[in-house]
Amino acid sequence: MGGGEGEGGRAVNKTVMGKVLLKNIENPNSADIAGYIKTGGYKALSKALELKPSDIIDEVKRSGLRGRGGAGFPTGMKWAFAAADSKKPKFILCNADEGEPGTFKDRPILEKNPHLLIEGMIISGYALQAEYGYIYLRGEYPKAKDILEDAIKQAHDKGYLGEDVHGKGIRFHLHVHQGAGAYICGEETALIESLEGKRGQPRIKPPFPVNEGFLSKPTIINNVETLANIPYIIEIGADAYAEIGSPDCPGPKLYSVSGHVKRPGVYELPMGTTLREIIYNHCGGILGDKKLKAVIPGGISTPILPADAIDCPMDFVNMPKRGSMLGSGAVMVFDETVDLVKVCYRAIKFFEHESCGKCTPCREGVGWMRAILERISNGSGRAGDIDLLIEVSNNITGKTFCPLGDGAAMVVQNFAKHFRSEFEEKIH
């Protein structure tokens, strides 16, 4: 077994054949197209263009790749839905909004290996017969914008983008669209609204973007990391790819680790690596050799876990069994000295700031939760405040268009579930 709590099936395969997503990330020439080509870049594109679009979709389906943005939806299935819709044109959007606090996994690809993403998008565009692609990049990454735009220009000059991709008579145009500091635009329908030049407020689903997305046309939205897996899948084939990671969630995974560890950073490891291995083997353990108190495993909106949960494999199947989620793989580590009430308050302050205001339970409820947490945190909490918090959170869950409110409610519910005594101590 790969880790303490994994159930059934093959063990996590730890022998990844070198790095896939962070390959050459330390090489300063990787952002340049010549450097990228020198290490085998754009070979997968040549191979893909010899295949039929439907064969590429089948290959991605067979690989078992699941979306790396947080929801873990099977990528090949999403593509097949969009491909089956006869409306034209189709669009492919890359979600590079990476706004989930704790998450910085896509940044190395965007800033240091942009051609990996571009190659992945061209292949995806061909597979879906989409002629236009947009990279929705968060406003907080200004350097990445320049780097991506330079890389797109290079790919264009080289004939990989434009009216006649690789001399195959296929058309694919790619642009960067810069967001402007709204977390909600990481939600795919809000992202589409924002790309259409509107306020980034989520749409009701259905219709799903695969049928009615950008400009009401079939639209595929994939995370940076998801798209960065595509060239490798085409290159080595679905079967070899599916050997990496855990059986239900194959492939490599980027984990961005922050907080109280000795070596924070972005780690590419087989999907299903346990939190213990990530924290103690790869990140060198807790800073100052203090005791571990808690971990938020997948970005701020995923449920916090106590220290005794760290033998859980980090994947889409096992984390929910342990009461949390893989999310974006953003591991936030808290040592024994951290005031978790304050962390909870700060997290909810974030959600209050980022609520788009469309749904009343989220807009009002998250504000109330913030107010209650603020008074508990500064020592003026009242008896019954913890139950009141939970009651408010229960009135948000499941009552909103998008998962932002649910995320905020989950934060409160799980902090209270695992660390209720810390809240109680502040009230008395």
């Binding site: 704790g102 910085f104 810069q178 500091g181 977390y183 030049g197 924070p264 701020i300 951290v338 974030f350």
Partner: protein, 154 residues
């Protein structure tokens, strides 16, 4: 008034999209880069160029926290205080900016040199605490280091 260059750049941006309104956010960025903020007059002008109603332009621009609707200092400090930065003492940096530079969140120094915006995660959690000054990332900030950095922005 927008410069001739800005108007030209907005025209080029329009070619990237299938519909006109998609160019609204990039157009607002062009103006903000030139003026440092988005004045009511500038918003009106962008709306006229793109043929998007004035109210819609304002509604959109005020939705996004990185668009500024009042004049800013010469350099914009965007300091993160979200959880990963908070547990690495980012609040202390907020105090230092207040005590040594007289700089409050959402405020501008009297000499117009710096404005401060508190950010919600800038994706530098592994090297927290972190900030952007204009478009430059600075991370692993300490009390001493932040002063060294700011000395370079006149």
């Amino acid at each position: 008034m927008l410069s001739e260059n800005a108007v030209k750049e907005i025209g080029l941006i329009r070619n990237k999209y299938h519909d006109v309104q998609s160019s609204l956010l990039p157009a607002l960025y062009v103006v903000q880069r030139e003026h440092g903020w988005l004045s009511p007059e500038a918003l009106k002008e962008v709306g006229e160029i793109l043929n998007v109603p004035k109210a819609e332009v304002k509604g959109v621009s005020t939705f996004y926290s990185m668009f500024r609707h009042k004049p800013m200092g010469r350099h914009l400090i965007q300091l993160c205080t979200n959880v990963a930065c908070m547990i690495m003492d980012a609040e202390r940096l907020v105090d230092i900016l207040k005590s040594r530079y007289g700089l409050e969140p959402n405020g501008t120094t009297d000499d117009g040199r710096f404005s401060l915006i508190i950010m919600e995660c800038i994706g530098a959690c592994g090297t927290a605490p972190a900030m952007l000054v204009d478009t430059d990332f600075h991370d692993n900030l300490t009390e001493k280091y932040i002063e060294e950095i700011l000395a370079k922005y006149k």
